[in-house]
Symmetry: C2
Subunit: 829 residues, 2 copies
């Protein structure tokens, strides 16, 4: 077993290695590990043990500048010893593990073997040995002591998976980190280097399964000619102990199988699945299983034949059973043509209504995969009641690492604090304490399996997710799946140390930014459990308060002139609250005992309703959005304080993201506040909303060529209007007269940066050009509005009363150099 040699280049803080940088340790830390052995002995032989040994050598070389000697037999000198408990016991019968070690757990211990000091990394499984190596290297990267180690770590649950929503054409649904690492143009990529690198990242935090394709599955993935391609991916996963899974289309027997039905109770269909699965296992002996999305958002499912999800799941599960494979059946099943006029209709009820009656009807190798909340990955949702509603069925929680509704990696949003709230939530199922983490791990009702699924959607971008700091979410998901009792603070601290080193200022600052970020994002995007007030019909990105109303998608917040919120009580509402066990239902049924942060999820209240905090709902909406926007600006300053402590490249990349976020937070703030001001008619007690003394609306400027247009929805443009420079004009002007006192000023130009053009702008003071820029970002928008609204900040301008300030716009493609407004702030320079 010859370890591959990895060069140890200069360690940039971004890039493929993510938190596995193994950057050279400083002298003090090196000293600490100087007496570690110079050899590594690996007992036994397997791809996973080979990866474990290679990783140890790579890590020690990176951090210590030493190349460990490889060996196979018991030591003639001090050594690291890697091997399963069985191999270890064979080599030295005196070695015995402390207590009962579960699959994938590991034991790190320092003992004398044949008179030599050995650091032993062992486990019941090869995979556990690999995890032990990663754990040891992580300790070194964090400068923790490894002297006299004697430590056992056991995974909380057997299922610790990620899903990728990659399409076979190479795009990724809700992916924000580039193209697929698996697929391109309808086939598996020829170069799977990044897929192997990904498996290494996953293994380092204990993730043992990965489904690689979109749950809105293309049935071609099961075609005969595709299976050898899948086997190539399984090959690069295998050394890292990551098992391959795929999402499937339940109509495959008909679509690609040549049958005239996919009825799960049809013997031909059952036969087809068995043969197909056997074929897969011939090529991929450690294949992990299937993900199923059926009868959901237009996907076909068992309802076509009047069958239940259990029927559909079991026919496939039985094909997998002999090989040890699993079916993950997603509980994300609901009617998306719900009649919004019926106040009793409630999408939140769907999963429980459908799956609770089927409890006990699923085979033992079926897992119901349940999103954390009853709606869809919103910034704040209560826990899905279905977690407590399945007691004779395996379940797994579906968390979303990719930030679909949470800023799409353009906004910083560290998710472990949100996930922890769900995982720690006690549903009191069956009259006793049943935190969600215990339920999904199968502990509460002694299920054979269960666990955690994270929708990751990494891509080919060097930083995997599109924002260097977003990698903390992938890391955090893995760590919580391994041990949900870790605190968010611990996770943030670990990740920061491994990614940016152990400089205390850096660790403190970045951890604090991460830990505050979810609440900041919630502050400026969505109040009191109403959900994210985003455009739910399109990009799921910028503000779009009304997009959830008056349509069948059921993400209603029911805001009107009087009040806001969904009445989901049993007494007067949709009855959803009744899906919770009594102790929980009791809390949510009453307005008084419902926590403020979920108030509008459960109750419809007038804007003047007074919260526990003492504020009215409407004033809370105003205040939280102003506070959030200010906090987002604060993140920029925190990051800037680290300028001299970070790698220049990552510093610049993150700074640009945070500055954008701070600008977009203002777009969110203004859109939400103005919408509610208009709807409620109740002014902001602090006089901010609707009053912008430093703002000059573009439509109010002196225009040459430029013409006003209505921004849709209106709250996503300041004053509801912007200006555009329409063909055949190639160039337009907007100007205004500066009339304040002479001094140093900052000018913020709010413009719209669509993806369907690259307009150019120039800014003049008098005849002097003081800035120019191109609107060439790739935001998810083809028209001016909340998705595309972007801020250009020009600082250090000496303005004098009477100055003419003028913007020249040069349209390009379908992007008509659109402008919203300019803000002028006095700033000492």
């Amino acid at each position: 077993m010859m370890g591959a040699v990895h060069a140890v280049p200069l360690h940039a803080e971004t890039g493929d290695d993510a938190w596995l940088r193994y950057a050279p340790l400083d002298a003090v830390a090196r000293k600490k590990y100087e007496s570690l052995p110079a050899s590594v002995l690996t007992l036994g032989d397997s791809p996973v043990l080979g990866a474990a040994q290679g990783e140890l050598i790579r890590g020690v070389r990176g951090m210590m500048g030493r190349t460990l000697r490889e060996g196979k037999s018991l030591p003639q000198e001090n050594a690291f010893v890697l091997g399963t408990l069985a191999e270890l016991h064979k080599a030295d019968p005196a070695l015995r593990a402390p207590g009962d070690l579960r699959e994938d757990s590991f034991w790190l211990t320092t003992v004398r073997v044949h008179g030599f000091a050995c650091l032993i990394i062992t486990s019941p499984t090869d995979r556990g040995v690999l995890y032990g190596v990663f754990a040891l290297l992580a300790k070194m990267a964090r400068n923790e002591t490894v002297a006299s180690l004697n430590e056992v770590q056991q995974p909380f649950a057997p299922i610790r998976w990620v899903n990728q929503w990659d399409n076979l054409n190479g795009s990724i649904e809700r992916g924000y980190g580039g193209r697929s690492i698996f697929f391109d143009a309808g086939s598996v990529r020829s170069d799977l280097t990044r897929a192997g690198d990904y498996a290494r990242l996953l293994a380092s935090v204990g993730i043992n399964g990965c489904a690689i394709n979109n749950v809105n599955a293309d049935s071609r993935i099961l075609k005969d000619d595709f299976l050898p391609q899948l086997a190539r991916i399984a090959d690069v996963f295998r050394p890292w102990g990551v098992r391959l899974a795929i999402a499937i289309d339940v109509s495959s027997p008909k679509v690609i199988g040549g049958l005239d039905t996919f009825d799960p109770l049809d013997p031909g269909v059952s036969d087809w699945w068995r043969k197909k699965v056997d074929e897969i296992y011939q090529q991929i002996p450690d294949f992990a299983g299937f993900i199923v999305k059926a009868d959901s958002e237009g996907r076909l499912g068992p309802s076509t034949y009047g069958r239940t999800p259990a029927d559909a799941a079991n026919v496939i599960a039985r094909a997998l059973k002999p090989h040890g494979g699993l079916v993950f059946y997603r509980a994300f099943v609901y009617n998306h043509h719900l009649d919004w006029r019926n106040p009793k209709n409630d999408r939140a009820r769907a999963a429980y209504d459908i799956f609770h009656p089927l409890d006990g009807k699923f085979d033992d190798n079926v897992v119901i995969q349940i999103k954390y909340g009853p709606i869809d990955f919103q910034v704040r949702e209560p826990v899905s009641p279905l977690f407590g509603g399945l007691r004779s069925t395996n379940e797994a929680i579906e968390l979303q690492i990719t930030q679909e509704y949470l800023g799409q990696q353009r906004h910083l949003c560290f998710l472990p604090p949100m996930w922890k709230e769900t995982l720690d939530f006690d549903l009191h199922a069956a009259g006793r304490s049943t935190p969600v983490k215990d339920l999904v791990a199968g502990k509460s009702f002694h299920r054979p399996t269960g666990g955690f699924v994270g929708v990751a959607n990494v891509g080919l971008d060097a930083d995997w997710l599109g924002h260097p700091l977003a990698l903390a979410n992938l890391y955090g998901f893995g760590r919580l799946a391994w041990n949900p009792n870790l605190s968010s603070g611990t996770i943030a601290n670990e990740w920061t140390r491994m990614t940016f080193g152990n400089n205390p200022t850096v660790v403190r600052t970045i951890s604090a930014m991460q830990l505050a970020s979810w609440r900041i994002y919630e502050n400026y995007t969505g109040p009191l459990g109403a959900g994210t007030l985003t455009n739910i019909l399109g990009s799921h990105y910028g503000p779009g308060v009304e997009s959830s109303e008056r349509n069948g998608w059921g993400q209603w917040h029911r805001a009107d002139h009087q009040g806001i919120g969904m009445d989901r009580t049993v007494a007067t509402g949709t009855g959803y609250v009744g899906q919770y066990p009594a102790p929980v239902a009791g809390k949510y049924e009453s307005l008084k005992s419902t926590p403020d942060e979920l108030l509008l999820f459960f109750h419809h209240v007038p804007y003047t309703y007074v919260l526990h905090s003492g504020k009215t709902v409407i004033q809370y909406i105003y205040d939280s959005h102003y506070e959030g926007a200010q906090q987002a600006q604060g993140l920029v300053g925190q990051w800037e304080s680290l300028k001299n402590d970070l790698d220049d490249e990552v510093y610049a990349a993150v700074l640009a993201r945070l500055q954008y976020q701070a600008g977009h937070a203002i777009v969110w703030r203004d859109a939400v506040c103005n919408w509610f001001l208009r709807m409620s008619g109740i002014p902001d007690a602090k006089g901010r909303v609707g009053h912008y003394p430093n703002r000059i609306e573009a439509e109010g400027m002196q225009l040459q060529g430029y013409a006003p247009f209505d921004v849709i929805p209106q709250e996503t443009g300041s004053g509801g209007k912007g200006i555009e420079c329409a063909p055949p004009l190639q160039h337009c002007d907007a100007s205004f007269r500066f009339d304040r006192a002479a001094g140093w000023y900052e000018l913020d130009v709010e413009y719209f940066d669509q993806i369907n053009g690259e307009s150019k702008f120039r800014l003049f003071v008098g005849n002097q050009q003081v800035d120019e820029w191109v609107a060439d970002d790739h935001l998810p928008a083809i028209k001016p509005g909340g998705d595309s609204s972007t801020r250009r900040r020009i600082t250090g301008l000496a303005l004098r009363p009477g100055d003419e300030i003028r913007i020249e716009g040069f349209p390009d493609g379908k992007e008509l150099a659109p402008l919203d407004y300019v803000e002028v702030f006095a700033r000492s320079q």
Copy 2:
């Protein structure tokens, strides 16, 4: 006059901006400049004044984050005021310059104008105003005070030029920073952005002329269709006050002019030159003149017709005269077929012998361009006696910024200390003090013009010269041309602050490295004035001690079995010493009074000759080469101490260069020492030379496929031999048994990295691969030897007695995976 807007991106410490980064100042420095005016008023209108105003705005914006307001009329508020003395006087007759300001000088002063505090930057010329702006911005970049400024700076000499040796095909003779910024494929480039950027760099240190093409000139440059292309370059130079010049072929009247002669005394030839020059000035009104290399190294010249250099220079000078143009006639004229068997022959005599008799025969717009030493840009030469030999003729000193014989920008070699020794050297011409700087500036004999020419050879590489630290030589040349009385320490300090910021550790360390580097390079490459012991017939790069001997090029050091050195005395040698004025000649004529560092230039001595230092010549050769190689390794450590204080990219780029240099210094050390050991038969008193206890010669290893070959010249391979893996073999092995004590070791593999192949190497300890690399550098070598010899350092290996160490080589192209030796050092890790 609208200033172009330059974005102020993150400031990398490498790249186009070189020392003009204008990086944001820290808070303390900002404070210092906070009360500077917010406006800039520019009196008058010209491209140069426009550039000056734009530069001031750009610099202040970069460092202070402020955009100055542009204005044209006298201030309504505090302001920077830019304008010539004439314009200034027109605007406010009370303003008067202190004393007499020469052309291009400038005055920075703080005065009240119409009651407002103004910082005035003025000069007799537009160019001087631009220089004043650069001087002010440089002060700010170095955090120097600018309060109550009242400072005049005057240039030391009117001629402050660079030459580029660019070929029309885009290559550059002796250029090491990439392809030409001016030419590509026989024409002027369409994109001249870098040419403009270069002119800006030049202007920032007061350089006012640039000849853009190889002195081995292609006559096509004077063709009618080329002139408009040259005009485009003049256009991008003009705003920066840099005048365009070109090198010409004196045979042009015949080669491209259609005449049957280029005899300078032929009236048709004279007529041709007049018409050609008129044509040039029609298109380039500020054209600066011509450089002439004639009768030199195979170039045609006036000797074809029995005419003198004065005849050739004057016919061209008379054509230029009406337009104010100059002819630079290079004194680098010598016979390169000199009979080496005649001990009286001496190339060093040539320039003086040819040009001294012509003194007074050159027109007043002719300048004789004289290399600093009598040979050719060697690491140590005495001053050219011709500087004192022309008293009625203009002269300029030719210095070489590109490191042709001085490591070609792969070795650090900061040249101002060397240049200073030449410039400060007192030739005592005409019985009084005449330092070279005064002679070349025309001060000693009251010449109308004179000055400094630097051969720069920048290229398209981002760092211009191929080594980020080499830019200090371009900067230093400009600073010395402006003021040769500046110390090398001041120049190093200035450049480091402007390039890397004002962190005292950084400034101290980099300045110290620069200041030591020339002597370090001399130590390991060339002793006691014998010249650089390089391969003079080929690349002028690696060692090649005998290449100078027994051929007509005349760079002889006359080393034989008894002794070394050229006897150039009047009494017994070539008589060259007699070209110096008596006080200088007296010093060099006597062995006793000749300084050690130039001993071998003037005298032939036995190896046992005892130096002033008390060492024998041979022991000095050994000691200085060992000391130099050790100092080169020390540079690596000094640089590594700055890891956390520098931009990552430049840190990595320079570190790689310094590590290479340290390895190549050992190649130099061993080649030179072994050559002299073999020649002299006198052992190293310290027992180092020829004894390498840690070295395993490749030819002595266990070979599979590999076969030994003779390295030529033999001293450039250890033991005179290497090993190669010849076709049809695709792979060879060389191995040896490690027999020292168990411990941590470093392994240095010396291999040959040619430009005509990219061999691959793998290193194994036992069956464990511990390193692999590709020989893909672009060194100037197509065979194994001193030019290609390269070191791969593998650290942190735990070796045990009995280990087999094996190198696998995979040849590629004409590079046969050649190896020289391995060295094994015990190093604690």
